[in-house]
Amino acid sequence: MRTIAHTLTVLTLGIALASSSARAQHETAFDIEDGARAFAQSCANCHGPDGDLIAGIDLGRGLYRRPLSDAEIADIIVNGIPDTPMPPTPRMNEQQAYRIVAYLRSLEIAPAAVADSGNAARGKLIFEGKGACMDCHRVNGQGSRVGPDLSSIGLLRRAAELEQSLLEPAAEVQPSNRFYSVTPAGSEPITGRLLNHDTFTVQLFDTDERLRSFVKADLLDHGFVDTPMPSFQDELGAQEIADVVAWLVSLRGTP
């Protein structure tokens, strides 16, 4: 009996010592669920329910101001970041913090699993050929800048979201991908991707790939327009869509 207890202690210690980097992967479903609850209670008020409410940070997709290990994230959860609005959470212990990390990491790894049915290599060929996607989009320095740069889209969107964008592009346009049209006096309407706007001005990336800024009061007309992204519902078959999705999911930043 004593031997068993001793063995258990050694095992526990061993697990604790080995935990840092691999910890999230070894958490149970319960831990992830618990992490989700703790995230909702302790983090979501500032970071939002999807963890993407603070500019430059998307916790659900593993985007931080700099790459962070599990241990670093857990440390930030407990101790905060000095001189920033990120507060410490002193009543949270390390185990609870790691459960939140496990929950966040579980969100990050979800996309790859969903895209298994497609072939990324075939998808790349369709993307660059039949689909003519590069007429608007750019990947790793190649293609147009008019639409969103997709070089890291695999980090930013999940497979299901990418599939929806291909089939029903107007169903959910990310705010930063909205298109806007302005009509200056004596000019044809100018359309572009909305970069920013406020009460008095609007900033666009126009279809000639120029950064444009306008004072709204000087315009004859201005406003949001539908996305120029076409639907590929009738242009590509189901397997081709899956292939393109697989290609997009594989895009995780410039090598």
């Binding site: 008020n45 329910p49 500019a55 609005p85 346009v173 990310q174 930063s176 920013n196 406020d198 009460t199």
Partner: protein, 542 residues
């Protein structure tokens, strides 16, 4: 020759010192009570203890405001939001460098006299930024609450600490972000932490010693009236924090404070009942802290509708009768006129899109719309969890008789039982908290937007509106030149015609406006000050 110059210099210096000493006369309570008699100064958070945030200075008018020019900028060493409104006393400007440093500047040039540096305890916890909304003054002493829940008294001439009193335990999640309120020989303060399960209170301290004089708990203890509005032991951690500026009425000797939401914020199942005195305005005897009356804006709140807005006290002809009223644009989307002597509910109505109530009973209790509560499936509630307004200070102009409020419109949120609220719409940034720097903004017309509106206290109807693209966490200043100043998250600071709302002037300050504007004068020259980003900007006519 040399010695003569030296002697002259000494005389000038002496004269200068003596003049300074004379000019820097103590800020008596009498001066605070009659602050409108010296509009060149700005002696308390909203200019007067009635919180009008109205300046009698009239050099800047609707006719010349377009000529405003930047005078000086003071950049804080801080990555936090700049929420403080400065004080100006006889040419010296005092403000806070977040979280809890105080600086004294020459109000004419922005050059620095001294800095008081304060390092809060690492135990300090704040829900929404390590911020501070300003200092109070009495005599030669400045008062500031700290994010580690202390009250400090600082020598306004030297910047040295006079006393430091622990208001509450920072480790138990009490913190202070609000401006203190000075009344007579007492300085009053409450704490934040209502979302973290504190038991709220407001306390008064002796201005000379820092000794506590009285403390009023905003959640009654067992045996006290109102404790039975909290089920079980929920009263012990029910929040109801006092975390924004109060007001004082010398005629009744009452101080008024708004109280925050009950905790837990979005799940009322553990705290059944009305949860007094959360989401109330409380009227306390300034000498004793005794509760004289209260009015609860949102009984049993499950939507985080803190009633911590800045109370505005006005003596007006209300519907043909002279009344001593309190005007209140509340976070819950309702605007109120209360009798501030008795607490009587005189009138209230929605001022933004709202769906959680559909009228008042005779006592002014809101009638809930059935089903507009958190549910397992989620319920779309308007306004948003951050409300129609949050803490930003409004303004009242006795000249126009209008109540000016910067707030936001058209916001909503899905509230799921027992969990965090979920913003609706694709743009989940629609009403996020203010930040320091500007962010790209993509909202379309259907999503929430900010406004400055002028309301008629008789009807609570808007007389005019100035609409912004993004929402605003900025306050409002009105002046005797019939100009209204405000700003917002887009980083604009602008001037409107107080009677029509017409845009007269604007400046792009490069950082979000998270503070209330104020005005002062140096040598008869009117200045307007506003904090944006992490800097303080001042403007004046050439």
């Amino acid at each position: 020759m040399k010695s003569r110059i030296r002697r002259l210099g000494a005389i000038v210096t002496l004269f200068g010192l003596s003049a300074t000493a004379q000019v820097h006369a103590q800020v008596s309570f009498e001066r605070l009570l009659n602050a409108e008699r010296e509009p060149e100064n700005w002696l308390s958070y909203s200019g007067t203890l009635s919180n009008h945030r109205y300046s009698l200075l009239d050099r800047i008018t609707t006719a010349n405001v377009e000529n405003l020019r930047l005078q000086w900028v003071w950049q804080a060493r801080s990555l936090e939001k700049f929420e403080a409104t400065p004080l100006v006393v006889d040419g010296i400007l005092y403000t806070v460098q977040a979280p809890n440093d105080i600086v004294a500047l020459d109000a004419a040039t922005g050059r620095i006299f001294w800095t008081f540096a304060y390092e809060p305890s690492p135990d300090a916890r704040t829900c929404c930024g390590r911020v501070n909304r300003g200092v109070a003054i009495l005599g030669d002493t400045l008062f500031m609450g700290t994010i580690d829940a202390h009250m400090l008294a600082i020598d306004a001439r030297s910047g040295q600490l006079i006393w430091k009193t622990k208001v509450a335990e920072a480790a138990e999640r009490y913190s202070i972000t609000m401006v203190p309120l000075v009344v007579g020989d007492k300085v009053m303060i409450g704490t934040a932490g209502g979302d973290m399960g504190i038991r709220g209170f407001v306390a008064a301290y002796d201005v000379k010693t820092g000794d506590e004089v009285w403390r009023f708990h905003t959640i009654p203890a067992p045996g006290e009236f109102g404790n039975d509005t909290w089920s079980g032991d929920s009263w012990m951690t029910g929040g109801a924090a006092v975390w924004n500026a109060g007001a004082y009425d010398p005629e009744t000797n009452l101080v008024f404070f708004g109280t925050g939401n009950p905790a837990p914020d979005w799940d009322g199942r553990s705290r059944l009942g009305d949860n007094l005195y959360s989401n109330c305005v409380i009227a306390l005897d300034a000498d004793t802290g005794e509760l004289k009356w209260y009015y609860q804006f949102t009984p049993h709140d499950e939507l985080d509708y803190d009633a911590t807005q800045v109370p505005v006290l006005a003596d007006i002809d209300w519907r043909g009768e002279p009344r001593k009223v309190m005007l209140w644009a509340n976070r819950n989307g309702l605007m109120y006129v209360l009798d501030r002597v008795t607490g009587e509910f005189l009138y209230g109505k929605p001022y933004v899109a709202l769906n959680w109530m559909d009228g008042f009973d005779e006592q002014g209790r809101p009638q809930r719309v059935p089903g507009m509560v958190p549910t397992p499936e989620g319920t779309l509630i308007r306004p948003h969890v951050h409300g129609a307004i949050n803490w930003a200070p409004p303004s009242f102009s006795p000249r126009t008789g209008l109540y000016y409020v910067a707030h936001w419109e058209n916001s909503g949120i899905i509230v799921v039982e027992g969990q965090s609220p979920r913003p609706i719409g694709i743009n989940r940034r629609q009403t996020t908290m203010g930040q320091v720097n500007l962010q790209p903004f993509f909202n379309n017309d259907e999503e929430a937007y900010g406004v400055v509106r002028a309301y008629d206290p008789d009807t609570l109807d808007p007389v005019w509106e100035f609409r912004m693209g993004d929402i605003t966490w900025g306050g409002v200043l009105s002046t005797a030149g019939d100009v209204v100043f405000s700003g917002g998250k887009e980083g604009y600071f602008f001037a409107l015609d107080a009677r029509s709302g017409e845009l007269l002037w604007r400046a792009s300050l490069g950082g979000q406006v998270n503070s209330g504007p104020m005005s002062y004068a140096i040598g008869g020259r009117q200045f307007i000050a506003i904090a944006a980003g992490s800097s303080l900007f001042t403007f004046a006519l050439p």
